[in-house]
Symmetry: C2
Subunit: 416 residues, 2 copies
Amino acid sequence: MNAEIISVGTELLLGDVVNTDTAIVARALTTIGVNLLHTVTVGDNPQRLQEALELALSRCDLVITTGGLGPTDDDLTKETIAKTAGQPLVEYPDIRTRIEEYFTGRTISENQYKQAMLPKECHILPNDHGTAPGCVCTTPQGKQVAMLPGPPSELEPMLHSYLIPYLQRANTEVIQSHKIRVFGKGEGAVAKEIDAFTQNANPSAATYASEGEMYVRVTAKAASQEQAEALCKPVVEQIGACLGDFVYGVDVDSLEQCVIDILREQHRTIATAESCTGGLLAKRLTDIPGSSEAFEMGAVTYSNRIKSLLIDVPEELLEQHGAVSEPVARAMAQGVRKKAGSDLGIGITGIAGPDGGSAEKPVGLVYLALSDGKQTWVRNMPGGGMVRSREYYRWRAASTALDMVRRYLNGLPVNP
Amino acid sequence: MNAEIISVGTELLLGDVVNTDTAIVARALTTIGVNLLHTVTVGDNPQRLQEALELALSRCDLVITTGGLGPTDDDLTKETIAKTAGQPLVEYPDIRTRIEEYFTGRTISENQYKQAMLPKECHILPNDHGTAPGCVCTTPQGKQVAMLPGPPSELEPMLHSYLIPYLQRANTEVIQSHKIRVFGKGEGAVAKEIDAFTQNANPSAATYASEGEMYVRVTAKAASQEQAEALCKPVVEQIGACLGDFVYGVDVDSLEQCVIDILREQHRTIATAESCTGGLLAKRLTDIPGSSEAFEMGAVTYSNRIKSLLIDVPEELLEQHGAVSEPVARAMAQGVRKKAGSDLGIGITGIAGPDGGSAEKPVGLVYLALSDGKQTWVRNMPGGGMVRSREYYRWRAASTALDMVRRYLNGLPVNP
């Protein structure tokens, strides 16, 4: 089955909002073996939406729209699709009641009731997190159009709870896909090393770069889950062997998920002291549900004074070497570990930019330390050479710290 | 001038990567008055790329592609576009030299040199942050196709330094646009209040929701910047008056930018103590360049033990009221302020979920406190009612804290 996503919203064309919906829907379609061949965005413009819809229906079996289901006048997705499917919009009393319940104790503006209007014949997708329901309707040519709301917090649960199960009942070919995640090696180098695999069609293997790391996706198609998995498995293993300990996981969500999982498994705890990353490492670790079992304490120590006050970095060290230095990174890792009474301590100090760099200590220079109470390891990111953004340097520094922890916990050399 | 963006990359269709490039390019086009009417994504498939290109060229004047310029075999954008524009690809010796310089001291794989091949007649867009240059070439029908690399860290500087200035030399109509940013009021309510303005065409006004907040965009078109601005100005002022102190800024980047700006202006400092947000507030504040002038210290105090140890929250308070309570939020704000010696202190404690909730203290319940040493204000997010994601609750809590600080610094009631 081939699909196309049409996102509706002028805010997307103005660049005010990043379109995360498409990636969320795309990922879900991949898991159930639906091929996504195109995605398209149009503004809140019924004519262009209709043209996009007609083109999509001419080249695929399933169209999924995101956005344009809200209460305001420029939300026109349902109207346009109902017209194309040759169906009137009618009010669904159950949905009207649900809207009234949702707003219990608050005033309901008349335009909210627009959300109770849906095509006369459709499969309703309930919205457990908002007032605009979605639906799937069938065109006279037997193609399906599914409508999802724009806000990701409403779209995502509706997709997983209602649309995907609905679609799964209809699909036969299965795609199985695995993601081999790599930190510390670039896409170009990996592409060369696994050249033998990327030439094949089924399973296919392809390399992708994302900011600061890369991954290899292995994908097989077959009539059943088991057959597709049997095609993938040996290739995933061979690529894994080829890339060695630069692989931090297969089908894991992120470095932070990987680190929290191992910490919990080993009943170990961690504490972080951050200067240039300003809490990003703590934020990434605590993004993971259940991280409270492993994450003991985070200190964001921007100034020298706070580094000494909070995690006992000796003042002489700061004076002698400067805040951005290997000895200070060490002292931060050791100090925060001791303060928190945790098994591991991380110290990060560097220059995220755009200001604050010098010839000797360029923007992007970061020292990272990991201490286990017996030993302390340090890695540095040289920075400088290429001018990257503040965001990039901060993200990359947090990832590098996570990679050091992962390596330590897995008994690998902390620095490759 | 009408434009269309074509993003190229199978990783986008698999949902592995969120397409941020489109928003970055869209925003830049908006500022120079180019109308973006469609955006499209295709995989690394030359035939579908060619079809998308032909359709785009049939309906707009400028096509911008993102991605597919890299060194690997599936990077086929240049080849496909050169073919459509009827031009051979030739090697540019300067670019080859630059690639060699970039890899000084490292091995260059042969496929890297592919990046030195560009259409014979084109305007080159240098890549100051990577090896793949972009270019603009003109079709036999006089339409322009610009090619940008996929990684945002390369695309963004190329766009702003080279493509936008190049396009500006050719464009005549000007769009002026302002974004009125609102926290603490929903899109539906605002849409109703400013109904009189959203009916107009020039300037137009439209409401947009983004996770946890909303904004109104006012847009005018005219022959000159001054004329467009003259159309916008009164409408921006009237809408601002209508929404009162729920407006946190016009054309400001974010709540955190707004807070750091005022703190620096007033020479005041802040410290944060976070439980459920786990460093997200510190991270957001330190995202802002120059935040080190205002941000004194951040404490991520997940466990009760660390709350007492690091920021002196009395143990009896934790025992008596539980960690997620108004008195503990107060004590956190007061404690971190005192510890850091800062002007302001923030305390956040809550239940981000998905686990840890109860009937009495549901997931999403968050207490937020702001202390200035004389007085402490508390706000709470009730949570519960609707089940939202961990990410949403954390983001919304950090935003709420920022809004409290903004209100305090501006002499407004801390709680509206």
